[in-house]
Symmetry: C2
Subunit: 215 residues, 2 copies
Amino acid sequence: MSSYKVIYYNNRGRAEAIRFLLSYAGIEFEDFRFESKDDWPKYKPSMPYGKVPVLEIDGVKYSNTLAICAYLGKKFNLNGSSDLEALQIHTAAAFVYDLIDIVGDVLYGYRFSFTEESYEKEFKKLFDETIPSALEKFEKIVNKNDGYFVNGKLSWADIFFASIFESIYGICAYMDIELKNDLLENYENLRKLYEEVRNIENINHWIAKRPETKG
Amino acid sequence: MSSYKVIYYNNRGRAEAIRFLLSYAGIEFEDFRFESKDDWPKYKPSMPYGKVPVLEIDGVKYSNTLAICAYLGKKFNLNGSSDLEALQIHTAAAFVYDLIDIVGDVLYGYRFSFTEESYEKEFKKLFDETIPSALEKFEKIVNKNDGYFVNGKLSWADIFFASIFESIYGICAYMDIELKNDLLENYENLRKLYEEVRNIENINHWIAKRPETKG
């Protein structure tokens, strides 16, 4: 049995997808969270590529949410039944991941600094255009694939999607953003998929036991 | 034999990594380029997730540079010799890909609009901090791994890295940005790896025969 340790801030953010997948597979993992954001510089030099989340597997550190989730998805038989199906699953997850990127960029000023005026403009664009336009595409795809992103069956892209929305809701709550409506409200298939993943027994257990955090 | 068609703008951009990998494997592919950027809205509705590059394999469209390259990398035996090695290769490529994301965001205003003042600030940060700090990490990693990103042997991450820098140089040329120095000048191992990949016979042939484009 391998040992697993997730290393991240004390929030859902970009680590929750990894925690969801490990939980799905019923794997016990150490859920290491920095006590404070100020602790990060202390840890940064020992992280590959200087970034978190990191997943330690048997003491070796691996990095990047999407890469780690693709690895775990394969390991837990959530990667389709052919290489081309695996490609479609990876594609779906990559486009879902783009959303947390842009949400982080706009709401946290993760990579760019905005003036007050440009922040307002980007904020409006994010919630009025970028997110709805991506969700519209996802909704069509999930509708066409009998409720899942790829080929009518659960894959790591579906679990990834649900966890990323957990994190996006978290970021909005952390930033005290009152959403006019639930982001998924108008997307019946996505809403259903989100709930379905959260209701998978092992994931449901994880949600019940994880630390309550904003963000 | 499968048939391959790359669909993208008439530049290197996010498609060149796919073209590099197909060329590496000696695969003939149709290199479809929109005649003009204005043609994009005409094609957008038929693209999965509404984005390019797209790789058509036997008439089926697949999307997302990183996902496509991971698929091709595996197919062409450039994905390491274990799932954990494949994870490290994927991780390297993902962090390399982050650079073209941020270069596109700053120089093309790909996702955000900047004021003249904030553009200047982001431009400076990009070339003085973001790119050097990433390259410093990559240089250490490649130095530690005998000239490659992972485990001392050529993988799709190395080809990906070289092609992404081809594209970044292209974007800089397109935007008439005179780089004070070659971006890779101070990174001996990266510079060498970049040249080594370009000198692989099949890739070298591709570079010689591809359309000359700015960007």
